[in-house]
Amino acid sequence: MSQPWLRNRNHLFALCNLRTDGRKASEIRRMRFQMGVVEQVAGSALVEMGLTAVLATVTGPTECLRRADELPDRAVLQVHFAAAPFCTADRKHVPTNDRRFLEAARLVQRALEASIFLHLYPRSLIQIHITILSEDGGRLCAAINAASCAVVHAGLAVKDIVCACAAGGVDPVLIDLNRREEIDNINMACAMLPQRGTIVLSQCEARLPSVEALDRVLETAMDGCRAVFAVMEAAIRENAALQWSSKRGKAIVALSETNVV
């Protein structure tokens, strides 16, 4: 960088084995969960992981828009992925049928299908709309976390709360990479059902140097998921309690914590 004061700070961080945003290698970003932010839909959640903010809304179960799409024994889960034009530093309008978004939507769909009891809602449609409001790395993971929270807020029956976190880098293995780190390092996104210990998604686009490296990165990502779960679970529990006490009131619960793995 050209600014000398930033250059100096990075040297300081490197000296203490800290990352560019002052975190340790095994530290996830500050997280904030808000549920019930959109009133018109069945469930909604706004999740912030560091500076990445994602909004997810769940509509349904409803009649399928096209009868031809409906399945007789289970629900159809549709995920729409979009990014606001102001989510990155440069204002950019990205069309919704962008290939990366379609892929991300498909990944979120498969991660959540592993958790939702779809057979309880035959012939119906569950729609999840995900909007990236602010992007600073880990958007797929934040999207899965937001969708998972919104699904629980909507009251859909799920096996477990899906939690996602990314890990990367070879030595040391970093947890919850921000945008700058994603560019430089291997980045593996992982989503799991933390109380069951099952991985529902793991995605990596870079090449890993060895199988042992894969083991390490995956293990670290799973630890990150468990840390995310600790915060998400507390937020969901508090939200449920608040909503019960306010009956039909609009309770927005925001819970933020930094967790060291």
Binding site: P61, T62, P122, V152, G155, V158, D160, I161, L193, A240
Partner: protein, 213 residues
């Protein structure tokens, strides 16, 4: 109660999905909001834990604060409550709001009642004339139902890509609630084919549902 000690969480406490509630016995069975796996009960929604006593079994239930996602499925042969949206020469377009056994739907479903399915204008219980298409004694749709009326109908079929098909061709089916055209007061059924406004005494033609006592 004996069963309290078997649950890992207090009754009326808040649980999140995935919480292991306890073991699955013959007497403690999973109820709404829970699921069973490998002999254990798990919560599947975020909500309040409770026990419903049913004869010899205790139903472990987790109730979410808002019952958003319990969609009531519409099945063939079910009686439904619908509101008439618009009426044409051949059919009436309605929106189903509730089912008799399931309760209110979260989102209303579209349906139609065809002219042939409204019934006969002659109140006979048996007829040899099975050709309903040419049956001159079939109702005119606008004289049977009007937009804004609430009707009780039976689901004939799941229909085509857009809408369910309903029928009114039974004595207990028909208009349940209607407002008079002039004053907007709630009308009372006078006979199977007439409703009367209690204020003005004006009669309007409707295919009335048999009142339930």
């Amino acid at each position: 109660m004996n069963n309290n000690s078997r649950l890992r969480y207090e009754i009326d406490s808040f649980v999140v999905p995935g919480d292991r509630l306890g073991s699955f016995f013959k007497t403690t069975v999973p109820g709404p909001g829970t699921s069973a796996r490998k002999g254990h009960l798990y919560a599947s929604t975020a909500g309040r834990l409770s026990i419903q006593q049913q004869e010899e079994q205790s139903l472990i239930t987790v109730t979410p604060p808002h019952d958003f996602a319990s969609r009531r499925v519409i099945t063939v042969g079910q009686i439904v409550l619908a509101k008439v949206d618009r009426v044409s020469w051949t059919q009436a377009h309605v929106s189903i709001f509730a089912t008799e056994t399931g309760g209110t739907l979260q989102y209303p479903a579209e349906a139609i009642v065809r002219r042939e399915d409204i019934g006969s204008t002659v109140p006979v219980t048996h007829t040899t004339n099975t050709n309903t298409a040419n049956n001159k004694t079939s109702w005119q749709v606008i004289e049977a139902v009007r937009p804004g009326d609430w009707i009780v109908a039976r689901v004939l079929s799941l229909g085509d890509t857009q809408r369910y098909m309903l029928t009114l061709a039974e004595p207990q089916l028909g208009v349940w609630y209607a407002l008079s055209a002039k004053g907007g007061t709630v009308m009372q059924p006078k006979s199977w084919n007439t409703m009367v406004c209690p204020k003005t005494g004006v009669e309007e033609s409707r295919k009335c549902a048999k009142p339930r006592c």
